[in-house]
Symmetry: C2
Subunit: 157 residues, 2 copies
């Protein structure tokens, strides 16, 4: 099973890029991992939120292929702790899926079309974090989940 | 009201230090903020977890002065979203407290003595994140809470 992380717009801060690359490189030793960074919306500031979400939605859905399982990172998603998230990820890996696509949305969440296409939603925290910081949180949590699945000591270290 | 963040051991990763300093410098424009980094335990690896927690606990409690309100960041703490956390912080700021001390523990949580001395516990997420990454999460969330209290646009940006 391949894991894709889809995000919109480059990660602006060098320090976040460093952290994300650190964890994704460790994760990449355990699974096939790719990050798809979709180009950010041009002149975002001049567009209403709904229009931004609609355009982002089209970009996101253009990445989804038949057989993909689409999972949104969303504050309203299922609340897992790290152990149950690892168990959820493990169950996906046992389903002989071709690809699981985790999507990190923009600042305003997703369009209806994206919510409708998603198989599941995962919440990293009830708190809101900057959507670029969420990329680092998810990178760490994905790595943590895989170490838990593989029984590699990390979770309490 | 002064806000102190107490943590054990230096932040190892340069990228995390950069992010933490970024948010704390913004927060420091709105409140009196200090970070107290206690020296890490020597030869930590050779000590049982309970002994590590006991030594950490003594270091933490040595920082607490009469009149301080001690709040632990702990996975078992109260689950706030960003709005309710801001409201909680705002209520503390209205209580004419001298100082609120937020403590970020080590990898194994806190000793009984620290739990007993604490006025409250706050959870940033049901998920476990590296205790050094938690420092960045908390720095962002504290900044976010203060922008919400002050009505500064950030929360949806």
């Amino acid at each position: 099973m391949k894991i894709s992380i889809v995000e919109i717009g480059k990660t602006d801060s060098e320090y976040l890029r460093t952290g994300i690359e650190h964890y994704n490189s460790l994760t990449g030793r355990m699974v096939r991992l790719e990050t798809v960074t979709l180009p950010d919306i041009k002149k975002r500031g001049s567009l209403p939120q709904d229009e931004q979400k609609r355009i982002e939605g089209e970009k996101i859905l253009s990445q989804v292929k038949p057989g993909d399982l689409l999972i949104l990172l969303d504050e309203c998603g299922t609340k897992y702790d790290s152990i149950t998230f690892a168990s959820y990820l493990g169950s996906l890996m046992n389903r002989s899926l071709k690809r699981v696509v985790f999507v990190i949305g923009g600042p305003y969440g997703f369009s209806e079309e994206v919510y409708n296409a998603a198989a599941a939603m995962v919440s990293l925290s009830p708190m809101t974090f900057s959507h670029q910081l969420v990329r680092l949180l998810f990178a760490e949590q994905l790595f943590r989940a895989l170490t838990l699945i593989r029984g590699i000591p990390y979770h309490n270290a």
